[in-house]
């Protein structure tokens, strides 16, 4: 999985890593000054969080389907729930439906407490 992330320049650019926790895939976004959107709070940029969710959904899909082709996003929507402070953000994806052509994936990201998500997303991908 890390090899796939390594092959995606954008994933390296924002510094995303992938881990397996209790057998489940988790993506990790370490905090860095370069990903700040609001310097006064400070908070991670909403766009970076959206991209992080989309990457997590992709990783989960690639992991699940065993394909080397990167699925193409059709639509992705992001709900911003709390501001994401200057600490590590982690995300997990759940595949709601893996069809022949289209997959529907939900993703949730949190910081210190998994029960307090900072962003949630839903994406549909063409396989």
């Amino acid at each position: 999985m890390n090899r796939i992330l390594e092959a995606i320049p954008y994933a390296r650019f924002i510094g995303v890593g992938v881990e397996r926790v209790d057998g489940r895939l988790e993506c990790v976004l370490p905090f860095r000054d370069e990903i700040v959107g609001n310097a006064r709070l400070p908070a991670v940029h909403g766009g970076v969080l959206g991209a992080f969710l989309e990457l997590t959904a992709l990783m989960r899909l690639i992991d699940e389907s065993g394909t080397d082709r990167v699925p193409k996003p059709i639509t992705f929507s992001v709900d911003y729930l709390r501001s994401a402070g200057p600490t590590t953000t982690r995300a997990r994806a759940e595949i709601f439906k893996l069809g022949r052509r289209i997959a529907n994936v939900h993703v949730v990201a949190w910081q210190d407490d998994p029960a307090k998500p900072v962003v949630a997303g839903n994406g549909k991908f063409l396989l």
């Binding site: 092959a7 995606i8 320049p9 954008y10 994933a11 390296r12 650019f13 000054d33 370069e34 990903i35 700040v36 959107g37 609001n38 310097a39 006064r40 709070l41 940029h45 909403g46 766009g47 970076v48 959206g50 991209a51 992080f52 969710l53 989309e54 990457l55 082709r69 990167v70 193409k72 996003p73 059709i74 639509t75 992705f76 929507s77 992001v78 709900d79 911003y80 501001s83």
Partner: protein, 164 residues
């Protein structure tokens, strides 16, 4: 937008300026710049770079980088729709990927804030390479007004607030 409406940023409407992006660290890292702002709309540019590629096979910019461009442009469009500046926070953002963005060229987003209520602003946007009439992505977003304790970061653009 009805005529005669006041806009807090009216004095800045026209070609974009570097300081419209400078205070957002990640937008600076990406090299996002404001191209033009006007009543309730904004246009921004994301310069092409290899680091933004999401699909190495097709050399297409990662969708999430488009999210950042659209989020930024839409926040600016909301500020351009306000009579009085306040803090702006994204509630949600949906991006439809209509086709792959052309590799190797700068990408643009144009956002229009088509409705402002007391607490929420509604935005639609497109992302494109050459013309807003031929977009590769379409977007919808909602933004919370006065969402956090910080002032609008756009206040420094007009000299530190309404006393200036």
């Amino acid at each position: 937008m009805e005529t005669g409406k006041r806009y807090a940023l009216a004095g800045l409407f026209g070609p974009g300026r570097p300081e419209m992006v400078g205070y957002v660290p990640h937008a600076r890292v990406l090299g996002i710049s404001a191209v033009e702002i006007g009543p309730a709309f904004a246009v921004c540019r994301l310069p092409y770079r290899d680091e933004l590629i999401g699909d190495p096979g097709r050399k297409v910019v990662f969708g999430g980088a488009i999210t950042t461009l659209v989020d930024h442009t839409s926040g600016l469009a909301v500020a351009c729709a306000l009579e009085e500046l306040t803090s702006i926070a994204t509630i949600d953002l949906r991006v439809d990927y209509l086709r792959a963005a052309r590799p190797g060229v700068d990408l643009y987003a144009r956002s229009e804030c088509y409705r402002v209520t007391r607490n929420v602003a509604f935005v639609r946007a497109v992302a494109y390479e050459d013309s807003a009439d031929d977009p590769f992505a379409g977007c919808l977003g909602t933004f919370m007004l006065g969402a956090n304790r910080t002032d609008s970061s756009y206040e420094r653009l007009i000299g530190g607030g309404r006393d200036a």
